[in-house]
């Protein structure tokens, strides 16, 4: 028997917001009955304020899938869409006082349902707004981008962990080698951002000098900063963090400060690091680093 926390048990036995919402204006469906769990998230978003005024769910799945869905609805109610989207799968697990490692995919499913609901609100399907990329795990239909995101956000290092978080590799296991490659690929980028890879000691190559200077993108001169930005008390902190994160990006990518309004830092990301899902990752990472520097700071794209 899984040793669930009291909070998981509570949310399973007394699920919050488990009902159909007939007047929902955002609905997200993820999972499938074939995979053994599925979640429908229903939201009522105020079109003027962007606040999630009500959230409800229906879930087919195990105890932790039901508890994760219940927790998610409680966490996002009253938040704006933008605030809600900052919630990570780890936040859902933390809210429940942790999930067994093998059940982390339940929290990932919750996070995906939110993305799907927001995409639906904007009139897109989840597939349109999310490029799965190359399908890696054919048994559970998991794309490379979901695996990369799980590795990136949760600093996963083994195939087993990737299976726990995404289900990828949990069937015929023929994709395990490919998942290992993907983990390595993501860690190359994570290490560039200054995250040390646990238990991983690179072979020292003495006597060989590897050029590590990054070629900056040939960009036009940065636009002049407005007076609010120039005089912002956060300017020094923001510039420092941007410089640090920028240095870790792949060749040809860079981040530029566009402006500071109150505590909100606007940036533009140039090059490959700013495109598609990598762009989201870069932005999330920058936001995290800014918060570490000063907890009041938030980031958005210019």
């Amino acid at each position: 028997m899984w040793d669930y926390s009291d909070k998981v048990k509570d949310h399973f036995l007394h699920p919050r917001n488990a009902r159909v919402m007939p007047d929902a204006n955002a609905v997200g469906d993820v999972g499938s009955i074939i995979c053994g769990d599925a979640l429908r998230l229903m939201l009522k978003i105020n079109p003027v304020t962007n606040v999630i005024e009500d959230a409800s769910f229906q879930t087919y799945g195990c105890g932790s899938a039901i508890a994760s869905s219940s927790a998610l609805t409680e966490m996002i109610k009253g938040k704006t869409v933008e605030e809600a989207q900052k919630i990570t799968n780890q936040d859902i697990a933390d809210y429940l006082d942790g999930l067994p490692a093998e059940k982390m995919h339940c929290s990932v499913m919750g996070r995906e349902a939110l993305d799907a609901a927001v995409a639906n609100y904007h009139g897109k399907s989840y597939e349109q707004s999310h490029d799965d990329g190359e399908i890696v795990c054919h048994c559970f239909g998991v794309g490379i981008n979901k695996i990369k995101k799980a590795v990136w956000e949760n600093h996963l290092t083994t195939v087993e962990e990737v299976t726990n978080y995404t289900k990828a590799g949990g069937g015929c296991q023929s994709c395990h080698m490919r998942i290992e490659e993907i983990i390595d690929e993501v860690w190359v980028d994570l290490e560039k951002c200054g995250v040390p890879r646990p238990g991983y000691v690179p072979t020292p190559l003495e006597g060989i000098k590897i050029a590590t200077t990054t070629v900056k993108a040939a960009s036009s001169a940065p636009a002049a900063l407005d007076s609010a930005t120039a005089e912002s008390p956060y300017r020094a902190a923001a510039e420092k963090v941007i410089k640090e994160v920028s240095a870790g990006l792949p060749q040809g990518s860079s981040i530029e400060l566009s402006g500071i309004k109150g505590t909100e830092v606007a940036v533009s990301i140039k090059g490959a690091a700013g495109e598609g899902m990598m762009g989201e990752m870069t932005l999330t990472f920058l936001g995290k680093k800014l918060q570490e520097e000063n907890s009041a700071l938030t980031v958005r794209r210019a």
Partner: protein, 416 residues
């Protein structure tokens, strides 16, 4: 009652006897002197050894009696049925160097299936019999798979998940006609249905103690006289040189008593317990819509009931049952550490909408009518409650509201 700390005397309704069973108090009583007084080694040439040696002999006779073995020396005590199964597979290959094929089924216990897949990665060719939607094998397919390269045919006597009984005596005849060694994993059959090895040409049979109210850690491999045999575990002369290691005396004594009790209660299992199981089945089908019995209803062990509740997931059902202290098991993916539904349900090609919601109730001679009544009282509410949560269920009938094809429970899509 604390639902996270259940056991005998702590409350709870135990309906998971195909997983393991309560150790009979008579068995515990019989074992105790061999922990305290008679601690000698059966091989010793002194007064400490003699009573122990006699106890082993008696237990061997009790076991032989239950399974209808002609000679007690055909009984080899092992540590578990998995060891017995491994031994049977290996000895068949080792003693017949000119043969390298094994015939078995897709619904065997992992002790056979996983060992076979290990063997197949080492050059052994394994043929798996298909099963029908009811979980039955096709005897004509069995005959067609046997040839002069077949070292062993291993077919389970009864299935642990569905309770299906396979025609083992008849299959053993077919194997004998083809000159093929025959082994059966009878873990779920011994003590539940009549088993008599001397009536049919079964060469080897495995079973374990903890499914028949003896403790865990003791198993049996029956090897018919005249069957060529090479041990799996070397290092001593015990069990007539067929299984090394000092005999686990208290457990062997316990197993002997458990076998004697099992024989006494065999009739009760096929009358009183079978009636309870049938009541449970009828009650569930009458009170809960959209559920179906898995397996072949005409050919099942008398204590086993496997029901698929559509549109709900098995682990969630188990968790809610456990809140009432009711213990059962599930073939769903989430209740195990694997992400796939059980290989038995997959072999039976049960639709995924049902396979994830299968629950196995397995009774024993300790199960009472009140326990079955209590289960029938709470189960409809549990299923209704989970279906209310399920996006696939709406107002007491399956719902598919604007679901895309992946989300659609009736999707015919199967995984690659």
């Amino acid at each position: 009652m604390d639902s996270r700390n259940l056991g005998e005397g702590l409350g709870g309704i135990y309906l998971d006897n195909n997983a393991t069973t309560r150790i009979a108090p008579e068995v515990v009583d019989a074992m105790m002197p061999y922990f305290t007084t008679y601690y000698g080694n059966a091989s010793s040439q002194h007064g400490f050894g003699l009573p122990v040696d006699k106890a082993l002999q008696k237990a061997r006779e009790q076991v032989a009696d239950l399974i209808g073995a002609e000679h007690p020396d055909e009984i080899i005590f092992t540590s578990c049925a998995s060891e017995s199964d491994n031994t049977a597979l290996w000895t068949a290959l080792w003693t017949q160097k000119n043969k390298d094929e094994i015939v078995t089924t897709k619904v065997e216990h992992p002790a056979i299936i996983d060992t076979c897949s290990f063997l197949s990665s080492h050059g052994v060719k394994v043929h798996y019999l298909d099963v029908t939607k009811e979980g039955d094998i096709k005897p004509e397919q069995f005959a067609s798979m046997l040839n002069e390269r077949t070292a062993l045919a291993s077919i389970m006597w009864a299935n642990n998940e569905t309770g299906n009984i396979y025609p083992v005596p008849a299959l053993a005849e077919v194997a004998a006609e083809h000159g093929v060694l025959f082994h059966t994993d009878a873990v779920q059959a011994v003590g539940k249905i009549p088993v008599c090895v001397k009536d049919s040409p079964i060469n080897m049979l495995s079973f374990s103690g903890h499914k028949i109210h003896a403790p865990k850690g003791i198993g049996v491999l029956y090897v018919r006289r005249g069957t060529r045999f090479i041990p799996y575990l070397h290092g001593g002369h015990q069990e007539r040189g067929r299984r090394a290691g000092t005999e686990n005396v208290p457990y062997i004594v316990g197993l002997g008593v458990a076998c004697e009790l099992a024989k006494q209660h065999l009739n009760e299992l096929n009358t009183r317990v079978r009636a309870l199981r049938d009541n449970l089945e009828r009650g569930i089908l009458a009170s809960i819509p959209e559920c179906m019995v898995m397996g072949d209803e005409g050919h099942r062990t008398p204590n086993t009931l496997n029901v698929a509740f559509k549109f709900v997931e098995g682990e969630a059902i188990l968790l809610l049952l456990n809140e009432y202290g009711i213990a059962a098991s599930s073939g769903s993916a989430c209740s195990s550490e694997s992400l796939e539904p059980s290989h038995v349900m997959q072999a039976m090609e049960i639709p995924f909408s049902a396979a994830h919601g299968t629950i196995r109730f397995s009774l024993s001679r300790y199960t009472t009518e009140a326990e079955i009544d209590k289960t029938l009282e709470v189960l409809p509410g549990i299923i209704a409650r989970l279906r209310e949560l399920s996006p696939y269920w709406n107002q007491n009938k399956p719902a598919i509201a604007k679901a895309d094809h992946v989300f659609d429970p009736d999707s015919q899509e199967v995984r690659a």
